[in-house]
Amino acid sequence: MKRILLLRGAELVVFAFLATIPLLVVNPYALGLLTLLAIYGILLIGLDVTVGYLGQVNLAHVAFLGLGAYAAGLVVTKLGLGMVPALLAATLVGLVLGGLLALPALRLEGPQFALATLSFAALSTTALNELEALTGGAQGLSLSRPPLFGHALTPPLFYWLCMVLLAVVWMLMRNLLASQWGRAFEALRDSPIATDAMGVGTYKHKVAAFALGSSLGGLAGGLYAFNFQYLQPQSFTYDLMIILLLGVVLGGRKSLWGAFVGATVIVLLPNLLSNRLLFQIFSGLGFAGALAAGVQGLVKKTTRPFQALAPVVAMGLLVVGGLFVENTEDWRKAIFALMLFSVVVGLPEGIMGFLALFLAKLFRVPHAPLPEPADLDTMLPIRPADGSALLVLADLKRYFGGVKAVDGLSMTVRAGTIHGLIGPNGSGKSTVVNVISGLYTPTAGTMQLRGATLPIGSLYSVAQAGVARTFQNLQLFGELTALENVLVALKGVYRNPLPMVLLGLARREERTAQAQALALLELIGLREQALVKAKDLTYGAQRFLEIARALARKPDLLILDEPAAGLAHPDVLQQIEFIQRIHQRGITIILIEHHMDVVSELCDTVTVLDGGRIIAEGTPDEVKRHPKVVEAYLGQPPQPELPGGAEPLPA
């Protein structure tokens, strides 16, 4: 409770202070800057959704600012409508165009995504310039600020409007980003494959995140239009985009406060550059800060030499340059570049990331207490193990070019059993799992789950159908805590529609979800580490967490892909016990494993693959003695009639 009070209190104080400023100060210049602060605040919160939460370099945000501005301007000048429709139109333009851009950009990651957004931005500048009949082209578009509900908007009133909108956006986004949606955005960044495999749907969330961020860009654009009352295509170019990125990165990603701090920096930048003394003070401070952090990092060996030294050099250039350059305004791009460089290299978490650590030490705010774990029997009822056919694979094939990775596999997995799938390296085990779970499309063959055809070629659809899996090479959401990893996958709890989530009315289901996730963490012995980031867990704990996360799908069929790979012996024993616990709940398991002792200990039935085909099937003891299995694992037995007899087996 104390934590909530502190956080909400800080928000309330800042907004109350900002709201009273026009009553105290009558300086129109200062008011202009504050209005801009509110507008950029909304803009950066939108940009942070893609850059921070989705973790993609988005170079199109400035285009949505521009398109939103023109949409609002045209609604007022051409259609003669008022403020509210204009702002709605601006938001809608961002939402729709953002969604449209996200659709093709959907499959893209990293550089390709950045390129697609860059092209979109260039294309929209071209369009604004060339559609002269509509936009006035390079001549620009003049408009006047329409009244709101009959009141003429004087500068203080317009400022309040912007502030109110910022506060509303702030609240809605806070609720959304703390919900299952925000977690899904982050999960998407850390592992798109696992996000799909947990039935969350990368498709829906990526488009939603991008469209949402862009709609805020559009809204900010609408306000921008009414603030300046004059629009030109060349206001919305690459240069401004760089400054916006500077704002988000410097302020701190994944943080509303970060966006706010970033907006403050952006608004103050022009003043910083035009006032020489101010510039020297700030560059000096930056240099001192970089030096202090660099030396500390080097002494404590927490950073690499480059990471410690590069910001010092960059800020040093800034200080020295500031002494020699006649007009700092001429060098503004180089100054942005040096600042941004120092921040990206030396302070990747931004100002707020740094401050958050500092404040957390200062106030020692405890995390909000977690609920008691839910009752496992109600959330994951024990299923009857009737031995009926759960999964039936018939003549399954998957070829890669000429390589027949799986070549005509027929197999039945019975409900309530642990079905082992073993074979030498390259025998096709992983391919089978990837085909069942939807990562690969089968070349031929059929798959049925409880008599219904299993969807093919879509991790998401297969997960929805009731199959959950773990990954041989861990695919955890590293930046999320253990608890959040399980929450992302949790099935059957989140029912509230988006508007309820936005309004913060979904708290109760969040508590239920936490209780259920904790119960699963308790099952695999990680309850005490619920709030540790997945990437900071030990290797063994990460393997266990993968299983808890898959269990959160409450699956009919659980596929464990080498759950003991790389584990130390005590952890292997632990893992066996966890798998037995899960088995006792009646969940059917397919187990791919190399450790023969694990297989013998756990499996009811074992299928042995070699060269993409089944060479043996039966109980663990039967297959261990099967001559073909021995041959596949150990090579040809020595020919008894050979003279000399005892030649060593090939390794």
Partner: protein, 292 residues
């Protein structure tokens, strides 16, 4: 008559397109070794062109200016690699996207202040008089672009196939970890690729400047099209970039003729977004199999 204009437009467009192809080839070089590209490559083109212009103004003859410019480009490429790419690659993050944009911005600002904001002519001994070939007029200058592009691409491809260092380059491209295990330093190979890529960018600047003039913004349009070419062709096909570059050059030359010069950039951008949506690995690229 009309057919002749179209032919003329297409040919000079395609020759311009070879410059896009050359810059795109520079992306491929670094992508092969490090899966990264320099988002500030356009600034490398521009700043190397300015440097070469200074060399010319200092009295260096053309044959001495060109290697000087290439060397400068290589050096700048190494700066980008050291300051912007290496750390991000070590951390296996995509921080290089932002960092290479930032370094490009710095180069841009430096060029603005050192050489001025105005566009300047780039003197060259190659004549701009048209020659009549197969019914279309081509200038020697335009032909020099084609010669330069094919010469450097040929040389680099030969280097990759015939020299030990080049084979190391190919080895790192094929499998970084395996190459490391065979004693090839992947860091040095990535440096080499950034140096080569910088030289390629410098040559693009030297070849195109006499036609377009030199200025801080000379490469901003160029680079977008080079991106389009690289992505549409795929980031691993040298043959593909030449074809796509010439096609795009011809297409936009026709687009600006029929739609107006403001729409010149549009076909490339639309082509890029379409290609990304339909074939993310490029028309000539290889599809990758997702592994988990």
């Amino acid at each position: 008559m009309n057919a002749q204009i179209i032919g003329q437009m297409a040919v000079s467009g395609a020759l311009m397109g070879l410059v896009y192809a050359l810059i795109a080839y520079g992306f491929q070089l670094t992508f092969a070794t490090s899966k990264s590209i320099n988002f500030g490559q356009g600034e490398l083109v521009m700043i190397s062109a300015f440097f070469s212009l200074t060399l010319t103004n200092l009295g260096f003859p053309y044959w001495a200016m060109v290697p000087g410019g290439l060397l400068f480009g290589a050096l700048m490429g190494l700066v980008v690699e050291r300051a912007g790419v290496r750390l991000a690659l070590e951390q296996k993050s995509e921080g290089w996207i932002l960092l290479s944009i930032i370094i490009g911005l710095f180069f841009f600002s430096a060029a603005e202040n050192i050489w001025g904001r105005d566009d300047r002519p780039f003197p060259t001994p190659i004549s701009a008089d048209p020659i009549h070939i197969l019914g279309v007029d081509v200038t020697r200058l335009e032909l020099s672009v084609a010669v330069g592009v094919f010469a450097i691409m040929g040389l680099i491809e030969l280097f990759k196939r015939r020299t030990l260092l080049g084979k190391a380059f190919e080895a790192v491209s094929a499998d970084r970890d395996a190459a490391e295990l065979m004693g090839i330093s992947s860091t040095r190979t990535v440096m080499l690729s950034y140096g080569l890529s910088g030289s390629v960018a410098a040559l693009a600047g030297i070849l195109v400047s006499p036609i377009t003039t030199v200025g801080p913004t000379m490469a901003s349009a160029l680079i977008l099209k080079a991106f389009s070419v690289a992505v549409v062709a795929g980031l691993d096909s040298g043959f593909g970039v030449v074809l796509v570059g010439m096609f795009l050059g011809a297409l936009e030359s026709l687009a600006s003729f029929y739609l107006g010069s403001g729409w010149r950039e549009a076909p490339g951008l639309i082509l890029l977004i379409l290609a990304l949506a339909l074939r993310p690995n490029g028309v000539f690229g290889k599809a990758t199999i997702r592994k988990v």
